[in-house]
């Protein structure tokens, strides 16, 4: 093993070691040009293009041991015998840990967002390795620790498990009829009504009433989940690819019954997440357990199959969208219902029908979600949970209605663009969907489209153009931040936020630079470490706005504490003139009581704001597909999207976020599905060879743009760009495929055998 790496000195990897202190040796004489809005390069680019960026499985430790897992092969059962002799006998095996000898861990708290948002970190209620019960096909039932990764993997496969098989069902189609209405929660409306949508639908002169299905999806971040865990007495240090440092820390403290302050979580770089690294999955907990049992630093890097076995994916769904309209296209009725399973042992219900609340100004609206439990691993959030698959059904149904009416699909949307939130009349904080459609149609050349399906053939290619709306709500989470400015004009921002590729460190550096009047290059940001002020989780497209809100407050506090500069004087110069080395400001308390008070205050203010305004990002997609008339092979060949995402902090990283969402949406539309054997609940395609994510050849030039008009109700006018990109994409592709071929496909993915 290479040089030892003390866990106490890991501030550096999460720091952007920018040229602070080199280029900013002197105090700038001129005010710095605004950094916000510029397309500056990522601050972590040098680390990422040279291989220096270290991910969770890449921190060297002396005496490191390796863990690997044995996964259950039955759907539901009880372990009656577990033979570890062969595994234990392999040279290099240090320990084989099973439910027979694993130390007791505290049970995971039941997720309850009202009591504590942190309880949401619990991915599953199963006390894996503390119980002989098996609740899903793939549940870890043994942990092997060995001197090297190959031995650990071999030994894990040598553990022989005998089960008593218990009655089970993992068959969504068979169990669908047992679904029950989902309850509303503080974070989502599972149902809502305005007027009498069923009567209005029955009375409507023109209507569609359609059934859509979407399959399970997996995030497939390129970095498989990995953990390196080190105990030092009762103190635990964990390197983990997490997008929820704070939740992971408190969850580890709960499971191992140690004070939260004795757990340190480090995640300076995370190799993609998309929701798959939000919750705490067994691999992380069991690596910490293995380290505790063996007294060695232990690393587990899940195999790709291991990720499928032990980390949840997106819910599959069956959806109904029914729309009634007058002959002029004015909507009278809008009904959207969904049924989607979770694991009996946990899961995250997606807000699949929420788009019905916000998108179209129908007189009568009804939406409702139903859920059921299956004997499978928990489901979990995946990029734009709910809106992503819900917008597929909604946008495809609107397109079908347009064809029933003989109206251009853009025109139908514009005629039904509401002036306030359709379900409850709440004012929009900001909504420029009409402008998005107008700009997008013009950029794409939409007016040249012929209405009739199969009317744009070129040689052996059937050409189709499709459109759809995009929508994702704007959220905020609490964030604690400290800011420091020194007399040389260097600024340091500290917050335990996450960098999974969104460009957060870059964007926050830009925001701090402008707020403090220093050059972008003079700002250093520290993140990805639970030793820093508590940051928000990376989810809900909320991180940038959440950190920005506290960062701006901290900068104001800091400037106030420094005093009032003279004409032409910077705050750094004022510090220097008054003989002070630096000044620091803190937003948010790190004490247990302080945190709780902060959370309550934040939530109260946030809910007040949310009741007052409907805040969201939106956009318009336009795409071209070409379908081979003989083989049915469909390719997306052109894409234009225009978004209303409030202020854009960094044009370069925001464009990548929006494009990335569209690329994942193209996968959702055409190729992606997790195949679960309904008899056994076993995932049949747990690999990147068999689960098809888009590759270079699947992705055309994607022209993204935005209106760049700040949302007056959000910090700096930022709305968030991480998720809105994927919404509507599968709908746009389905609509383009119809235009190309005349076929309506309502079951994702839209593969060629369905087109032929």
């Amino acid at each position: 093993m290479s040089s030892p790496h003390s866990p106490g000195t890991h501030a550096e990897p999460g720091t952007h070691p920018g040229p602070a202190g080199t280029r900013s040796a002197g105090v700038p004489a001129e005010p710095a040009p605004a950094a916000v809005g510029r397309a500056v390069d990522r601050v972590d680019a040098p680390a990422k293009v040279t291989g220096r960026a270290r991910y969770a499985a890449e921190f060297p430790y002396e005496d490191l041991a390796w863990a690997a897992f044995t996964y259950a092969t039955v759907t539901r059962g009880r372990i009656t015998a577990i033979d570890t002799a062969a595994a234990s006998a392999l040279p290099g095996v240090i320990a084989v840990i099973t439910h027979l000898d694993a130390p007791r861990m505290k049970p995971s708290p039941k997720p309850n967002p009202i009591r504590s948002m942190e309880s949401m970190a619990t991915a599953t209620s199963v006390d894996y390795l503390n119980t002989p019960e098996v609740h899903w096909n793939g549940q870890p039932v043994a942990v092997v620790v060995a001197e090297d990764p190959e031995t650990a993997a071999h030994a894990a496969e040598s553990v022989a498990v005998t089960y008593e098989v218990l009655p089970h069902s993992a068959d969504f189609a068979a169990e669908e009829r047992h679904a029950v209405p989902q309850r509303n929660s503080v974070i989502q409306h599972a149902s809502g009504t305005k007027g009498d949508a069923d009567a209005a639908l029955a009375a409507a002169p023109v209507s569609v009433d359609l059934r859509f299905t979407t399959p399970r999806h997996h995030h497939n971040a390129l970095e498989p989940h990995a953990t390196t865990a080190v105990w030092d007495g009762g103190r635990l240090t964990v390197h983990d690819g997490t997008q929820n440092i704070h939740w992971l820390r408190s969850q580890l403290a709960t499971k191992f019954d140690v004070p939260v302050g004795d757990v340190r979580v480090l995640a300076p770089f995370v190799g993609g997440g998309f929701g798959g690294k939000s919750m705490v999955w067994p691999g992380t907990i069991l690596t910490a357990l293995a380290a505790r049992v063996t007294g060695r630093p232990v690393r587990a890097a899940l195999t790709r199959e291991g990720v499928y076995r032990s980390v949840g994916g997106r819910q599959p769904s069956v959806q109904r969208v029914a729309i009634g309209a007058e002959r002029d296209g004015g909507l009278t009725a809008l009904i959207h219902t969904s049924t989607a399973p979770m694991g009996k042992v946990g899961g995250a219900p997606e807000q699949i029908t929420s788009v019905a609340r916000h998108m179209y100004g129908a007189e009568h609206i009804r939406h409702r979600q139903y859920t059921l439990g299956l004997d499978t691993l928990s489901t979990t959030n995946m990029r734009a949970p709910g809106e992503s698959i819900g917008s597929f059904a909604m946008e495809a149904a609107v397109d079908e209605l347009a064809y029933e009416l003989g109206l251009d699909p853009v025109e139908l949307r514009l005629r039904n663009e509401p002036s306030s939130n359709p379900i409850d009349g709440k004012p929009f904080a900001h909504r420029q969907l009409t402008e998005c459609f107008a700009n997008g149609a013009s950029l794409f050349g939409w007016p040249a489209r012929s209405f009739e399906p199969r009317s744009m053939r070129e040689g052996s290619s059937l050409v189709g153009w499709g459109t759809a709306a995009a929508y994702h709500p704007a959220w905020q989470l609490p964030a604690n931040v400290t800011v420091r400015l020194d007399a040389r004009g260097r600024a340091l921002v500290r917050c335990a936020f996450h960098e999974m590729g969104m460009g957060t460190a870059t964007a926050q550096s830009q925001i701090a630079a402008d707020a403090l009047g220093v050059p972008f290059e003079a700002v250093t940001v520290e993140y990805g470490d639970s030793g820093l002020p508590t940051g928000p989780g990376a989810g809900g497209s909320a991180q940038t706005a959440s950190v920005a809100s506290s960062l701006l407050e901290a900068c104001e506090k800091l400037k106030k504490s420094i005093g009032t500069p003279r004409e032409g004087e910077s705050y750094a110069q004022l510090l220097a003139r008054t003989g002070r080395d630096h000044a620091e400001a803190v937003v948010g308390s790190e004490t247990r009581v302080g945190k709780r008070v902060g959370q309550v205050r934040f939530t109260a203010k946030y809910l007040r704001e949310q009741r007052r305004w409907m805040k969201a990002a939106c956009g318009a997609h336009f795409c071209e597909v070409r379908v081979d008339a003989d083989t049915g092979e469909a390719r997306v060949t052109r894409w234009v999207a225009v978004f209303d995402v409030g202020r854009v902090v960094n044009a370069k990283t925001a464009a990548s976020q929006l494009r990335g969402g569209i690329v994942m949406g193209i996968g959702q539309a055409l190729t992606e599905q997790t195949l679960l054997d309904p008899r056994t609940g076993r995932i049949m395609n747990p690999s990147l060879s068999e689960y098809h994510v888009p590759v270079h050849a699947d992705v055309p030039r994607i022209d993204v743009s935005w209106l760049d008009d700040p949302d007056p109700t959000m910090p700096l006018g930022i709305v968030g760009v991480g998720e809105v990109g994927i919404t509507g994409v599968a709908g746009a592709v389905a609509n383009a495929l119809h235009h190309a071929t005349g076929r309506r496909l309502r079951d994702l993915p839209l593969t060629l055998e369905k087109l032929l």
């Binding site: 293009v49 971040a221 790709r304 999974m500 990283t653 994607i702």
Partner: protein, 163 residues
Amino acid sequence: MVEVRLRVNGTAREIDVEPQVSLLDALRERLGMTGTKKGCDQGACGACTVLADGERICSCLALAVQYDGREITTIEGVDHPLQAAFTEHDGFQCGYCTPGQICSAIGMLAEHKAGAPSAVTEELDGDGAELTDDEIRERMSGNLCRCGAYNGIVDAVREVAGP
């Protein structure tokens, strides 16, 4: 155990490994060179791409013992205009596929220069295909990017490939 002698980024390295140890694990876990990434360990994602005597390979599908005496270039040994181009064109987000994309692009440009055709090359005789965006996409399709930074990667490769 088998003694394997590699030249890695110009430096002679000797390691004792079991025959089943992949070149990827030898680099990452025996030599501590973690710039090369493991995304699937079965040749499906390209994150582990390195150059062996200048040719791009998936190091997860290569056994370390097969490469005895060979020159291996990993991202840690790369000093190439592609790195600046990836930065300029934002050819990555999370960065996990980036070392593989860059090593793969270096190998791909050499293949193209040597006249190797791809599945979308129409003219198979002549001086070789022009490196259009479609050619770049086809030739880089073994390297997955789940963040979806494909447009930026193509732009970066095209800029470095030149006219």
